[in-house]
């Protein structure tokens, strides 16, 4: 009903209802306290209005009991807000394992998206209903923010790092996609839509034009899926030369993503997307134990999208983590 009255945006994700429920609670608390204060201010103003210049007023210093009451009760209520809000927030930070993967690159002033299967789009995101979708975001220039009000999600796309969020659409339809972080002249034009489709339609869409879309942008890493594009890049840049099994120049990469990597300086690091990206662009920052800092930087040679493709390929290598680990650690 609120949606129809124009007081609430469409609820189109599993998160939307939860956020709206929390909103309802926040509104109720606000209404209660606003009315309480208003009743006090207006009630006292009427009852104790000045009737004569000779009015006598009592000397009331205060009440420690009341001070405790109106400190403790608001504190308790705000802690409910805190835990409720934190619960939703933490859920948003943990995408389900079976989520579809979509990479999002913001640039002045468009959103460039690529599905794991390879299909690319600009300012549009097609997703199936009822499947969690994980977004990995970054930016080519300034900070942008990926915002879909109907899903109640928003995430900054920050240059130089990866951020993630996820959603599961619940209703077929088209929804606003906004850039929410001011990014210059056409900030308000950096908008698009999210198209939520039946899974069958989505599969058809995914297969439908992937070849033509790839053909339209061959420079960005060839045709096919993210993994295939990544493989092409892997070969083109000669990564295999140093990163093959048994190489003394560089650690083999199979099984590295997600593992803990021991570093030359004695520290260790979890090989997440952020680490892989850094190792491509700034290889000297965290050198793997047992290897010399000989890798050249690939900064300026690959676009943000290509780096994401390369990471997808490295992740696809799989392999025996322990074996790979033993080698990197030796």
């Amino acid at each position: 009903m609120l949606e129809r009255l124009g007081l609430m945006p469409a609820q189109a994700s599993t998160m939307a209802f939860q956020v709206d429920l929390l909103y309802g609670f926040l509104i109720a608390v606000t209404a209660f306290f606003s009315l309480l204060i208003a009743a006090g201010v207006i009630g006292f103003s009427i009852k104790y209005r000045r009737r004569s210049e000779h009015d006598r007023t009592p000397h009331i210093h205060g009440s420690n009991l009341l001070e405790v009451v109106w400190t403790v009760i608001p504190l308790a209520i705000t802690m409910v807000m805190f835990f409720w809000g934190a619960h939703i927030f933490v859920t948003l930070k943990r995408p389900p394992d079976d989520a579809l993967q979509v990479n999002v690159v913001g640039k002045q002033w468009m959103w460039k998206l690529q599905h794991l299967e390879g299909r690319r789009e600009i300012n549009q995101l097609h997703v199936p209903v009822g499947r969690p979708v994980k977004l990995t975001l970054t930016s080519e220039d300034v900070i942008h923010s990926f915002y879909v009000p109907a899903f109640r999600i928003k995430q900054d796309a920050v240059p130089g790092r990866y951020t993630t969020t996820w959603f599961e659409a619940t209703k077929v339809g088209e929804y606003h996609l906004f850039c929410a972080e001011y990014c210059g002249t056409v900030h308000s034009g950096m908008i698009g839509k999210v198209v939520v489709m039946d899974p069958a339609d989505y599969q058809a869409w995914l297969a439908g034009e992937s070849t033509s879309a790839a053909a339209a942008a061959p420079a960005d890493g060839g045709s096919g899926s993210l993994v295939a594009s990544g493989k092409a890049l892997y070969e083109k840049h000669g990564c295999i030369t140093c990163h093959q099994a048994g190489s003394v120049l560089g650690p083999p990469l199979a099984g590295v993503p997600g593992s803990t990597v021991a570093l030359q300086d004695g520290n260790s690091v979890t090989a997440d997307d952020e680490y892989l990206r850094e190792s491509i662009l700034n290889p000297q920052a965290k050198v793997v134990k047992g290897f010399a800092p000989v890798m050249p930087t690939f900064k300026g040679q690959m676009s943000e999208e290509q780096i994401l493709q390369l990471i997808a390929y490295i992740k696809s290598l799989g392999g025996d983590t322990a074996a790979a680990h033993g080698k990197t650690g030796s």
């Binding site: 945006p9 204060i37 210049e53 009331i60 933490v90 220039d141």
Partner: protein
């Protein structure tokens, strides 16, 4: 005004420009920030006119972006931050504590010149092309992408910061060292406590923004690589540094206003403040906790989840002392003898607007909800309820309350009451619809917007028009009153503070004989009846 007072003690432009009298310096600030307020208001008007229609038809996108940027810069740095401290604090604090002047009168004058120097740089930036980074100067947009006058604007803000630091330093030393005999800490008017807390933020926080803004200018000019990732910097570092000052800056704006409200509510209900100690200490609690919540601006920036959880819980804690104040003000009204002069209408309006502004702040501290409304009009509405509904209402209330003391003339009561009511109504019509627009998903800083948001935006623009009238009205009748207003007695409101025991306007030396304080603040119950005009 036949007797000698600070206004007629000396004549000529140099007697003002070289004055060391805190009261005259307060007036210099009053004139300067009123000009800045009108300028900032003009930018707001352009923003609201553009947003009447969904299409970007009145201004180009670049011009629009400059308008909201310059509105923010002028209003925050050159109006709200100096407003109550530099005008009313400067004028009233020495009078309220029975001192002859601030501890460092020359430094006080210097701080006004520094303010003006900062304003000159910023105005230069504005009139020679403008700035389009948003008042928040987020990197790497401000250092690598923006093609506007970022450096002069940044230098202006950098310089202006020293004015705040010197004012804060002056207040702290004055409050510590120059209180009249018998005026113990817990007899101080709450306005003084509020300014003490504000001054702490001034001197601890302002250097950080000064350095940060300077780093932005340096990176732009010299390619330092502090914030820009292509140079090896970290753009989110800027947000940490910026909000480390700029969140406490919100308390710089609201705390002095809270001080005004404590004075006005007690005076016009003729009651001692309810819970003096709690109201006084809550100001300090706000000042201190306010330094620990900056990360709530970064929930979506990629900041670690644990950091976000901690900043969220701390943000809820800082709300508690504000709530304590509101409850105590309301309780002060109980069994009072309440009259509704214009300052009181502003003060009661403040309580209502600040309550809504504060409670909606809780929405934004709530992590899961902030994800949805962060960077939308919900945030715009929230901070205008605090900064305009709170800080500006307090400022206007304070200007009316002390106007007889400042000018020696009474303002006309009925136009002032009507003006206060217009401001209250216009304000709510302007900003309440923005909460709804934000919840519906309208992002802030949008030159064009989808048509479904138009109704709310038209309401907002209509409200802004009313609000504009509400602001021009006091400007008009206050100027009028300088010549035609009734001559003010020393204590027109029957108020308790020391500032009301000296003539209106006060003599240059404030008090012929240093007063001695023998009672607590706001001892209205034992008071003789006021001297009415």
């Amino acid at each position: 005004m036949t007797s000698t007072n600070y206004l007629n003690a000396d004549y000529g432009i140099w007697s003002w420009l070289l004055t060391k009298d805190h009261k005259r310096i307060g007036i210099l600030y009053l004139i300067s920030i009123t000009f800045m307020f009108l300028l900032g208001g003009l930018f707001a008007l352009m923003v609201r006119l553009e947003l009447l229609t969904p299409a970007g038809d009145l201004l180009t996108a670049d011009t629009y972006n400059k308008m909201f940027t310059m509105h923010g810069i002028v209003m925050v740095f050159f109006f709200l931050i100096p407003s109550i401290p530099a005008v009313l604090g400067n004028f009233c604090i020495p009078l309220m504590i029975g001192a002859r002047d601030l501890a460092f009168p020359r430094l006080n004058l210097a701080s006004w010149y520094i303010f003006m120097a900062g304003a000159v740089f910023t105005l230069y930036a504005i009139f020679t092309g403008g700035v389009d980074t948003g008042w928040t100067f987020y990197t790497p947009y401000s250092t690598a992408a923006a093609n506007t006058k970022v450096i002069p604007a940044a230098v202006g803000i950098f310089i202006n910061g020293f004015s705040s630091i010197l004012t804060g330093l002056n207040f702290i030393v004055t409050i510590h060292r120059m209180r009249a005999p018998g005026l113990t800490w817990f007899r101080l008017p709450l306005f003084v406590w509020a300014h003490y807390a504000t001054s702490i933020i001034f001197i601890l926080g302002t250097p950080v923004i000064a350095i940060t803004i300077l780093l932005v200018a340096a990176e732009r000019a010299l390619q330092f690589g502090i914030f820009d990732p292509t140079l090896g910097g970290d753009p989110v570092l800027f947000q940490h540094l910026f909000w480390f000052y700029s969140h406490p800056a919100v308390y710089i704006m609201i705390l002095p206003s809270m001080g005004v409200i404590s004075e006005v509510i007690t005076c016009f209900s003729r009651k001692v403040i309810f819970g003096y100690g709690f109201v006084a200490i809550s100001s300090l609690a706000i000042a201190i906790l306010g330094f620990l919540v900056w990360g709530h601006h970064l929930f979506l920036s990629g900041q670690s989840v644990y950091a976000s959880l901690i900043f969220s819980v701390l943000s809820f804690l800082v709300a508690i002392p504000s709530a304590v104040k509101v409850f105590n003000w309301t309780a002060t009204l109980y069994r009072g003898s309440i009259s509704f002069n214009a300052p009181m209408i502003y003060a009661l309006g403040f309580i209502g607007l600040f309550t809504i502004g504060g409670l909606t702040g809780l929405f934004l501290a709530t992590l899961g909800f902030d994800v949805h409304v962060h960077d939308t009009y919900f945030v715009v509405a929230h901070f205008h309820y605090i900064m305009v509904g709170g800080a500006l209402m307090g400022y206007l209330g304070g200007i009316h309350y002390w106007w007889p003391k400042i000018s020696g003339r009474m303002y006309p009561e009925w136009p002032a009451r009507i003006g206060a009511a217009i401001v209250f109504v216009g304000f709510n019509l302007t900003f309440f619809p923005q909460f709804i627009a934000g919840y519906l998903g309208m992002p802030r800083r949008y030159h064009m917007y989808p048509p479904e948001f138009q109704v709310l935006n038209v309401m907002s623009t209509a409200g802004a028009t009313i609000l504009g009238v509400g602001y021009l009205l006091p400007l008009t009748y206050l100027l009028w009153s300088l010549r035609y207003g009734k001559v003010a007695p020393a204590n027109p409101w029957g108020a308790t503070g020391l500032e009301w025991q000296t003539p209106s306007p006060p003599p240059t030396e404030n008090f012929p004989v240093t007063p001695t304080v023998t009672e607590e603040a706001y001892a209205y119950a034992h008071r003789a009846e006021p001297e009415y005009v």
